[in-house]
């Protein structure tokens, strides 16, 4: 790309190797001043490693980084900030018990008077229309507001390049649109933006250029405005994309899972209490539960699978009161579950896959006799799961920790689905899973429902819920909205329900009649 002015950032032949994996293999691309540049790829494609090297958290094994035409070595994040590189991480580093102002002051490289800092913060917020009260304590803020702290923190340094790592995964559609307004304004002022995501419609709506990584290699640089979401997804996974095949006009059977007036106090200081939740799922039906992270999804899953005990009548499985039963007893009634957290909840990293199978399948599949574990039966079933879900593992003896996140998720989903439960509750079934594997998991869920299983899918991914669910409800602040038929509901409606008590009504209706970037 010939240009009279030097690119803001130019990477040439960047290579980074970790034990057993080449994370970046000879990656070269450049970002112009004022360009919004997408870095696209599946989990494990090497996006995070690449930006960590740009931000100075890691050093490349080979290759060159040029900044405004000059070769530089970014030895640490402080040096990166000095160059004018700002970064907003996916996971925020904020102290819950401190105010916005105190959090920002702590992150500054140079010492600055609190009063001057506050003036500066207000100035930046004014300039970009970011609403945030500097004296609010972080623990009282919504996730979107917390992200604004990180953005303000980055903007205070007058960055020439802003790196955003998966910024929208925790936001409602309305918050996403507000974020895009800020980013477009920044770009118009000449700040370059490196935008990491795997949400293709967002990239189409926002970015000028997209660089696609696969397996550590750069596979294409394209214009997302010309590409379709599908064509970019296929470049990402390097294969044709399969749609979820779902039989139209299905009828549902009897109610398999009935939840009535389910309430539970928060289990920890930062937990959410469940308030009067009611819904039912019939045989063959898939109920989707949408919501922004941390609105009671975890507590709901725990109350359904038996890790939290409640009133016996508030949960019924197949007509039997189960609210006070243990997870083992509920599995006996036919309810299997997959929690969101893979490591240390759904699976134990140090245990073999066969042992992880014993964890949940031992009673349903007869892996115990006379108090002893039938190791052979566990290995056989684990082998079936590995084969049926194309899990990349050395075999049933491989430790769960040796699998990549996506493969471990495939194994966990397979472990529960092949038990042929009559009720399946899953949370974030494809979180961190590549598009190909996600399609396979989605198909398995739909196929299971077709055999008459009642399925509950709790997810923050609206696309996933719209593709899978027959019925949709939204959880917010521990309350569940009335279930709606998923064909009749708009993204905007769901977004408003997701926003719920977060933000004032003015904020929620920031762009009345305005176009929403997210479309089904």
């Amino acid at each position: 790309m010939e240009s009279s002015i030097a690119p803001r950032l130019q990477l040439t032949g960047i290579t980074k190797r970790f034990p057993g994996v080449l994370a970046n293999d000879n990656v070269s691309f450049s970002v112009r001043p004022g360009e919004i540049h997408a870095l696209l790829g599946e989990n494990g494609a090497g996006k995070s490693t690449l930006v960590k090297m740009i931000y100075g958290i890691m050093q490349p094994d080979a290759g060159e980084i040029r900044w405004d035409g000059e070769a530089v070595v970014v030895s640490n994040p402080k040096a990166a900030r000095k160059l004018g590189i700002g970064m907003v991480f996916q996971h925020f580093s904020l102290f819950e018990a401190m105010t916005v102002l105190e959090n920002i002051a702590l992150g500054m490289d140079s010492k600055i008077q609190s009063r001057d800092l506050e003036a500066k913060i207000r100035e930046v917020m004014e300039q970009y229309g970011l609403k945030l009260e500097p004296h609010r304590v972080v623990s009282t803020l919504s996730v979107g507001e917390r992200q604004r702290i990180e953005i303000v923190r980055a903007l205070l340094l007058n960055p020439k390049l802003l790196i955003m790592d998966e910024p929208t995964s925790v936001l409602t559609p309305q918050e996403v649109e507000q974020l895009f307004v800020v980013l477009r304004q920044l770009a118009a002022e000449g700040c370059s933006i490196l935008y990491i995501s795997h949400k293709l419609h967002e990239i189409k709506a926002l970015c000028d250029t997209a660089t696609i990584l696969r397996g550590g290699k750069l596979v294409d640089t394209c214009d997302p405005k010309v590409e379709t979401s599908r064509s970019m997804a296929e470049k990402m996974i390097g294969a044709g994309l399969k749609d979820v095949r779902k039989v139209a006009g299905r009828t549902f059977g009897d109610e398999k899972l009935v939840v009535k007036g389910l309430s539970h106090a928060a289990t920890s200081h930062f937990g959410t209490s469940l308030k009067d939740i009611s819904f039912s799922v019939r045989a063959g039906e898939i109920l989707g539960i949408a919501g922004v992270a941390g609105n009671g999804q975890l507590e709901l899953l725990l109350a359904l699978d038996g890790e939290l005990g409640t009133d016996p009548q508030s949960v019924s499985i197949d007509g039997k009161p189960a609210g006070a039963l243990s997870p083992t007893a509920r599995r006996g009634l036919g309810l299997c579950a997959v929690p969101e957290e893979r490591n240390g909840h759904a699976a134990i990293a140090d245990f073999s896959l066969a042992d992880n199978t014993v964890l949940t399948a031992r009673d349903r599949l007869g892996m115990v006799s006379g108090g002893l574990i039938r190791a052979g039966a566990a290995r056989t079933y684990t082998g079936e799961v590995i084969a049926a879900f194309a899990v990349k593992a050395l075999g049933p003896g491989a430790t769960a920790g040796s699998l990549s996140g996506g493969n471990l998720q495939k194994y966990i989903m397979g472990r529960e689905i092949l038990q042929k439960p009559s009720v399946l509750v899953v949370s974030q079934p494809t979180w961190g899973v590549d598009a190909g594997a996600a399609a396979a998991i989605h198909q398995a869920i739909v196929d299971l429902a077709a055999t008459g299983t009642a399925v509950v899918v709790i997810s923050q991914d609206l696309d996933e819920l719209l593709a899978l669910s027959d019925t949709l409800a939204v959880i917010n602040g521990g309350r569940l909205s009335a279930p709606m038929a998923s064909g009749s509901v708009s993204i905007e409606e769901i977004g408003l329900l997701m926003g719920g008590i977060h933000g004032t009504p003015e904020e929620t209706h920031l762009a009345p009649g305005g176009e929403l970037a997210v479309e089904a």
């Binding site: 034990p19 050093q59 000059e70 530089v72 240390g344 909840h345 108090g371 574990i373 920790g401």
Partner: protein, 366 residues
């Protein structure tokens, strides 16, 4: 910023824990203990090489010492097997010494009640009482932990000191033998109350085969049964255990009852065996040394069997070194502590590998 290429060592996380290192580090810990021990005692003015020879090798090369090894190793193995179960569940019972003492007291109580009786049923009853005593004493921390979330490390340790006072009260007071001429000790147990010798002409008593049997039995239960599985799951991840349907409270109870019961059994086996009565010198720190045994044995009951023998070697060797090269007996404690310290330090190699990396000096940004 330093100039020039610098070599540095870096720890790098392994993709999976190294099985080789898992078993190699205990061996390495023992070997490095010998090297450092020789060095330290040479610097202190003793015969360092002689100390290592007497402590680690004489008990093995002198067949006459083998029976001493069996006597010393048996209680260590029995207690350590129980501790291995407890530590696997992430339940840190460090008060095995107290449960050992109370086990000895409970069994002795039966012995004193049955002093005028005879019959083969008396000894088994004493052993059962010993187990029950140890269990009951470990039940206190179990109750406090599960009901009030009281840290079991503190309670088990503090209860140890309570048990020493209880022992002293009994042998100085109500249980003092009328014929002891003022000595604080109970009466000598009768033949039916004492452990039989299993190898004629030696001092090896019933405790040794019991220790081997327990190690094998517990190994089987831990590796094959649902109970053993639940202990490992709770220890590895409480959240996964709950999801899998295993109760953490139940596992805390079981871990403390098993480790307490086995420590109590070791206590009464010592009282009815080598001691033959209860005396103030009954607490011999077996309960604390067994912590080292459990770790050196990789929290595996069969490993504890081997590690128990290693620690017994240091005890027996320490006594030898006392007489042959005038090494103070406290030296044994130094060797044992060094072994545990090096083992724990070496554990980092199971999960991490050490790599030498050459660093280009970083250029300052323009």
């Amino acid at each position: 910023m330093r100039r020039g290429v610098s070599l540095q060592l870096r720890l790098e996380k392994r993709a999976a824990p190294s099985r080789f290192m898992l078993y190699a580090t205990p061996v390495a810990a023992v070997l490095i203990t010998m090297v450092l021990g020789a060095l330290i005692f040479t610097l202190l003015g003793y015969d360092g090489l002689g100390a290592v020879r007497e402590i680690f090798f004489t008990p093995l090369t002198n067949p006459y010492k083998w029976q001493d090894l069996a006597v010393k190793a048996s209680p260590l193995v029995i207690i350590a097997v129980g501790l291995a179960v407890s530590y696997r569940a992430n339940v840190w019972n460090i008060g095995a010494e107290g449960q050992y003492i109370v086990g000895g007291i409970a069994g002795t109580g039966v012995a004193l009640l049955t002093y005028d009786m005879t019959g083969p049923w008396i000894l088994p009853l004493m052993l059962l009482a010993g187990i029950a005593g140890g269990m009951a004493y470990a039940a206190i921390p179990a109750f406090l932990r599960t009901q009030y979330k009281v840290n079991e490390i503190l309670t088990t340790l503090m209860l140890t000191y309570v048990s020493v006072q209880l022992l002293n009260y009994l042998v100085f007071g109500p249980w003092k033998s009328p014929t002891s001429m003022g000595q604080p000790q109970t009466v000598l147990f009768s033949a039916d109350q004492s452990l039989p010798y299993v190898i004629p002409g030696t001092i090896v008593q019933l405790g040794t085969p019991i220790a081997i049997l327990i190690a094998v039995l517990v190994w089987f239960v831990m590796s094959r049964s649902v109970f053993g599985f639940s202990v490992r799951v709770v220890g590895a991840s409480p959240a996964a255990a709950r999801y899998g349907g295993f109760s953490a409270h139940r596992t805390v109870w079981m871990a403390l009852l098993v480790s307490g019961g086995l420590a109590g059994l070791a206590g009464i086996l010592e009282a009815a065996g080598p001691f033959g009565r209860l005396v103030p010198q009954f607490p011999t720190n077996y309960g604390f040394t067994a912590i080292i045994v459990a770790f050196l044995g990789r929290l595996n009951p069969l490993g504890a069997l081997l590690a128990g023998i290693v620690l017994a070697i240091t005890f027996v060797g320490g006594e030898v070194a006392q007489t042959t090269i005038a090494l103070p007996f406290a030296a044994v404690g130094i060797f044992q502590a060094m072994m545990l310290f090096l083992l724990l330090a070496g554990d980092v190699l199971v999960r991490y590998r050490v790599r030498r990396v050459a660093n280009e000096p970083a250029r300052a940004p323009a």
